[in-house]
């Protein structure tokens, strides 16, 4: 059956869906959806065929939007996304991730929720906030946010999550207990440079063919683990800075990754030398190549947020980047050349590339 390529965007003013032509050279923009609520993450659940959007409205609070028909109709609900009345409020849903027949939501103030009815109701995976480090969790610039959820591809009991300015945690028992996984990751913003928790993970991922290999883009560098996160080593050599947000893994090659370094955390957080570039490694982070053909090389005072880069599963793989200034760039040749696919969108929080049945 033929497939449709959809680029899903979460933005500051709602969700957008871009429908790609068969040649990936033209995209029809649909939106904004979700009542122009700030959408942190627009995702697709292949099991149900539904779109899911993690949102946080300054007026109406956190919620999850659902569309069963690829954007034709939408509804929202947040039943169960709460810690109760005696603890910090949940303010935004930062990520919605399908895994093991369920949906998981990461939220601000950092925590994990699970839904088994397609996002209609949610329950708190409370053991994470029972970790002894929780009392000392401090927010990053974007808040105290659980922004990344990565499920082991074959072991349903294993999952990793990432919390800004706290670090990576892993469960090996389906969420009943959690272990910090930050050994070897540096925290330049703390006097203890290698704390157990307190590192500022920005994004991490794995390839299902080698699930013990994790890659991480952190506030203080890029890292790789070969033992499921138990230990990390610096793979920043060759990159123009230690600071960046997104990182994605090639869908077919576990050794190929992309990241988008910015100039630094306290000198503007824009493209190094104001020249936009993506950096690719073909050898698991041992070396890096700058990819910029077709990207603006002057006055690129823009950034790319942690969730705003994605790859499709076509051959050659397409790569897509959404910027903080509302541009969507795409490459049809694994980053070799780039073109502007859409402009004048609201600031982009998230990008996903999915293939659905035509």
């Amino acid at each position: 059956m033929a497939s449709r390529l959809l680029i899903l965007l979460g933005t500051r003013k709602g969700a957008f869906i871009l429908e790609g032509s068969p040649g990936r050279d033209a995209f029809l923009v649909r939106g904004p959806f979700c009542e122009t609520m700030p959408i942190q993450h627009l995702a697709w659940d292949p099991a149900s065929g539904s779109l899911l959007a993690g949102a946080g409205s300054p007026w109406f609070g956190p919620t999850v939007w659902r569309s069963p028909d690829l954007g034709g109709t939408w509804s929202q609900a947040s039943d169960g996304i709460t810690y109760g009345d005696d603890v910090p409020a949940v303010t935004r849903v930062w990520t919605v991730t399908p895994a093991n027949g369920a949906l998981y939501a990461g939220v601000e103030s950092a925590g994990l929720f699970r839904s088994v009815d397609g996002g209609v109701t949610w329950s708190h995976v409370s053991a994470l906030r029972d970790h002894p480090s929780c009392a000392g969790w401090q927010p990053g610039n974007g808040g105290l946010i659980l922004h990344t959820i990565v499920a082991h591809p074959t072991d349903p009991a294993r999952m990793w999550i990432g919390i800004s300015a706290v670090g990576v945690f892993e469960t090996r028992d389906g969420g009943s207990s959690w272990t910090a996984r930050n050994r070897g990751v540096r925290a330049d913003h703390l006097p203890d440079t290698y704390p157990e928790t307190g590192v500022c993970v920005h994004k991490f991922g794995l390839h299902p063919a080698n699930p013990e290999r994790l890659y991480q883009q952190n506030h203080s560098g890029a890292y790789r683990s070969d033992d499921g996160g138990a230990n990390w080593r610096d793979m920043n050599a060759g990159l123009p800075s230690h600071f960046g947000f997104p990182l994605v893994v090639h869908p077919h090659d576990p050794e190929t990754i992309w990241t988008v370094p910015l100039n630094g955390d306290d000198i503007g957080r824009y493209m190094p030398e104001a020249a936009m570039a993506v950096w690719r490694s073909r050898d698991g982070g041992a070396s890096w190549q700058r990819q910029a053909d077709g990207l603006p090389q002057q006055h690129a005072y823009l950034g790319v947020l942690r969730e705003a880069m994605a790859v499709d599963r076509l051959d050659p793989v397409g790569v897509y980047i959404g910027t903080s200034t509302g541009q969507l760039f795409g490459s049809r040749d694994e980053g070799g050349t780039w073109s502007l696919l859409a402009d004048f969108l609201p600031p982009i929080s998230s990008v996903e590339a999915v293939l659905v049945d035509a």
């Binding site: 300054p58 007026w59 109406f60 929202q76 039943d79 009345d85 910090p88 409020a89």
Partner: protein, 88 residues
């Protein structure tokens, strides 16, 4: 039985809810919101947060006066729910 006025932006989140509702029971703001939530699930969560309290960037007025959840609602009160300009 209060008369309740809702903003367009809130009504858009709760399918089928009218913007102007008459005869809503409740002796406090909280009870009125619970009554609305019973018929239009999700109303409470969009207006209130943990505490419980009215969300920081939402305002509720009873007969023209800014109210909290425990504010008394009289038999013929008019309630306005209005998003605050501080919310964007």
């Amino acid at each position: 039985m209060a008369l309740v006025h809702l903003p367009r932006s809130l009504a858009a989140l709760l399918p089928g809810i009218p913007r102007h509702l008459d005869g809503i029971p409740g002796e406090t703001v909280a009870e009125v919101l619970r009554a609305l939530d019973a018929e239009w699930p999700g109303t409470w969560d969009r207006v209130c947060e943990a505490g419980p309290r009215i969300r920081v960037h939402m305002n509720v007025f009873v007969d023209g006066h800014r109210a909290q959840l425990d504010t008394t609602v009289a038999a013929a009160s008019t309630i306005h729910v209005i998003p605050a300009v501080s919310g964007g």
